[in-house]
Amino acid sequence: MNPLLEQFLSESRDFSQGISEKLMQMEGAPSDQGLINELFRLVHTLKGNSGLFTFPEMTRVLHAGEDLLGLVRNGRIAYSQELADRLLDAIDLVMEMCADIEATERIDASRAGDSARMAESLRALIPEVPSEAPAPVAIHPGATPAGLPLLSEVPEAARKEALRQCRGGEALHWVCYAPVQDCFFQGDDPFFCARQTPGLLWGAAKPLQALPLLAELDTYRCLLQFHLLTSASREELSEYFRYVPDQVSIVPVNPQLLEPSVSAPPGNVQHHSAAADGFKGGAANSPDSPQAPAEDQDEASRERAAALDRILAAQEQILKLDDRPEWSGGRLQSVAAVLVNLARAAGDEVAISEIEAALAECLSSGQNALLLLWLETGREHLVARLSSPSASPAQVKHKPAAGPPNSSGEAAATEGAPAQSAASDGIKFGRRAEDNAPSPRSLKVDQAKIDRLMNLIGELVVSKNALPYLAQRAESQFGVRELSREIKGEYSVINRIVDEMQDAIMQVRMMAVSYIFQRFPRLVRDISRKLGKEVQLVLEGEQTEADKNIIESLADPLIHIVRNSLDHGLETPEVRRACGKRETGTLTIRAAQEADRVVIEIIDDGKGIDPAVIKQKAYEKGIIDEAALGRIDDREAVNLIFAAGLSTAAVVSDLSGRGVGMDVVRSAVEKINGTVVIDSELGRGTSIRISLPLSMAVTQVMVVESDGQLFGVPMDNVVETVRIAKGQLRTIKQTLAAVLRGRIVPLKSLNTLLGIPAAPRANSEHELAVLLVHAGGEVLGLLVDGFKETIGLIQKPLGGFLSGLTAYSGSALMGDGSVLMILNVREII
């Protein structure tokens, strides 16, 4: 997998996470503009990134999401639960695609349907934009008169080719691409873009206005626009120009205009016939017939009135067409654009707003009636105003001034197709600025590199520990005290540096628990909605840090616990009300550091666990025997839920209740040297407390001696060290025992456990060294020969043939080069 794709995947995951998070937050603050902007930015960037690769499925979904959010951002659509649900679904789909890409470097073809459906469902929430316009490109009805006269410039060969393709069933389109002036600074090359247009038949570069003199020419401002004749479909063109939809107008070309016989200079009649064909051109320019001489006012106004009549008649005719082609929306817009232009020429602002209102109504209802009605009622007034001498030719002339294509393009953008242009505005808005969001000052480093550092520092610690032995040898073997002292001095310096370095590397591996906490809002929301419960999630101490491995292995157990709490712990609102509790349950997840351990508590104020039920269940399932049934107290009983095969839920749901779960939680936590305890008060709630080491890398080990050999016992297991006089030992049946602080503690000799044929040695006062260890909830005394120091070391698992030796959990290298075996206390007793 190439690095770019790898980074894309890792970023996508972050973005998806961010999007889910923001959506959650928006539930609490639906009108927070900052959140919406951030959300939009995330979706937008993710979409942009996906566009770098050929993942159209992903881009399609994100594009739809982006459109939707753009409208939410502009306040056109209100944020709603449904909207959040669909967007979350969409993000899930994107995540699945990411998984696909990770596995196979491409998106499975079967996703295409999913993504189309998802995009469809997202777009269904957008009231105005029809779903068949995936990449909205502004349709500029006004561009036709400006662009099409150039048809006459199309050379014969291209024209014939166009006609040939047209007869072959291809639709012809005229594209007018007017790049923004500073497009060069964005790295665009409009000429290249124009040359690469799909289905290009002919194209020409035209200056927007007369080019300035060479001395005044600014080479870095784009002064050209491009006219293109292409046989590509509108969808293809929309897709091709999707980054510059506001700079492009696409107009279907009526093939008749290409026929040599009709390619005369464009006049009103042709425009009308074109319009009557359902052609999205406007007769926008028509009211001023170019031939109209201004010298004779009467003559002119009569001609204008006649022309007006023809225009209006044509519009009426169009509106009365009762076929329902898919472009009927465009046709309506075109008619409205003509009428608006006429009203504007007449200076009738009221009429403009009336027409626009009528158009909006017609577009949403799909009926032409309102526009037709307006045409009938407003017609007289309009004609009167336009043909009256007070409508001076200058005023009317103002419209052909829309001739320079860029201004006509702009005018058209405001007049026509409000829905489309609005949608594309939403996308374009602030694109560049937002892509450059400030990046966090952090590095992404492959974990393997950190692990290597970790190993190296481990070796350094070991070789550092060799120095004291060297000092000792210098003194005892060679008798140079001076040198020995100096070595010790150096050692303390190296020791300090190594300690700091080790600490620094540990810090690098530290991760905040927020890494796992951040997924809980979503989880809790989804589950509680599914269960019909109202839950308020409180997260505390998200900044608490622990080693990456610890944090990662904690994720699954925590999810289990949270699910259990939601499913079994918290009650439904009705039950809670009946118990006199607040309807909304509270689930608190709290992390805190206590000495060298991280403690995570999951607390709910639900119905708690009934110890009697647990005891009964455990007894039924044979987990405890009858004697234990009477003996164990409530706290112990509650902790039985961690035993394998115990499920208290009467009904198995898809969330929990299959009897796996809590025991999996316990084994997962124990695997990383953690402990888990549960406390519950019936009717008041349950609290589960997980305690974990900060780091797994360094294990604190107590070194003990037995029969001349050294063994390490993890400090986690050690309870205390005592010396017991031989006389105080009792023998109960076959087992040695002693009374310690009023408790009977069974004693076992380490030598016996390891199969070493030697008796424990007592010291000069006839006392035996006893190491009290904690294993499987019981306390046991191990008889050893002596205690040594406690050291922190990096434990290496036993490999190869030795991995079968379960008595040892691993080995470590000591400073003097010897190997220390670490006992697996649970296994040997």
């Binding site: 790049p179 090359d189 000429f191 040359r195 194209g203 570069a205 035209k206 200056p207 080019l211 080479t219």
Partner: protein, 80 residues
């Protein structure tokens, strides 16, 4: 070097990028009678195109690439 400026002739090679436009403009301003050789050119950036359109130098050779030639001819032929 996408544009090779000879004594009285600018020879375009391959793809002429946006950075060339300023130099080309300068050069054409100082040599109004200069000719431009486009034969080996495959693409000119829009910025260069508009310099050529504004300066209208005499074209010594049109591009070998027929498609580009059609574009440039329609933009640079004095007839239009």
């Amino acid at each position: 070097m996408p544009i090779e400026f000879k004594k009285n002739r600018a020879v375009f090679h391959d793809v002429v990028v946006v950075e060339e436009a300023e130099g080309l403009l300068d050069w054409l301003q100082n040599k109004p009678a200069a000719k431009v050789d486009l034969f080996a050119c495959r693409h000119v950036h829009t910025a260069n195109l508009q310099v050529l359109m504004a300066a209208r130098p005499e074209i010594a050779r049109w591009p070998e690439d027929m498609e580009l030639r059609a574009w440039l001819e329609s933009a640079l032929k004095p007839a239009s």
